[in-house]
Amino acid sequence: MPSVDTKYFGTMDYREESVYDFPAGLPAFVDHRRFVLIELPQHAPLVFLQSLLTPELCFLAFPILVVDRDYHLGIAAEDLRALELNPDRQPELGTEAMLLALLSLHADSVPTANLLAPVVINIQNRRGLQAIRHDSLYSHQHPFELRTAEQSC
């Protein structure tokens, strides 16, 4: 089993099924094309997107519905095409696609989640990208209310 040096959990074994390809990387981190999704029961529903390129890069993320249970998908057709998903409709969460909101921590305010640009993963081919919405329905700094998470657990 391959192993990866992680930012938070030391060296971990992982299965190839937990690796996701990001052919274009992520904005500001375009060289990082492969990430392991670390899901640990003791941290659920929080997940970790660990770069395979360097241990230092590991994003904290929530499944998007944990942040906003009414989140309205708005993935652009060109992003759906890049993921080999049907570009004519939004994918079904959980069966076709997984959407993660990356978290930012702030010293003086509540954590925020990026709902403007969720990480979208095609579950079938395990390909991902960060899909920036073309509308202005959601913020890149959506305040994460802790009570919201509790209710959806």
Binding site: K7, Y8, L26, P27, A28, F29, H43, A44, P45, L46, L57, C58, F59, L60, L102, L103, S104, L105, P111, N114, L116, A117, Q130, I132, R133, H140, Q141, F144, L146, A149, E150
Partner: protein
């Protein structure tokens, strides 16, 4: 901020070598054409915002605070 009113087909110039043309306006939005030197970076602002937000998100909690921060997030 300078505000100008333009109709489809009209253009404006920024400096000597950047031209921005309003190609079409629909209910979905405005279609804009940009003529600029090859080395001028043109980005959708949301991409820049996402780059900056990712850089911030990548900082994560300091290792010594990790357990406390994580516990708070899940509380």
């Amino acid at each position: 901020m300078l505000v100008l009113r333009r109709r489809a087909g009209e253009a404006l110039l920024i400096g000597d070598d950047i031209e921005i043309e309003l190609l079409a306006v629909t209910a979905q939005g405005a279609k804009i054409g940009i003529r600029a030197p090859r080395d001028t970076v043109v980005l959708r602002k949301e991409l820049k915002i996402t780059q900056e937000q990712n850089a911030r998100a990548a900082l994560g909690p300091p290792l010594q605070d990790f357990a406390r921060v994580i516990e708070k997030l899940r509380a």
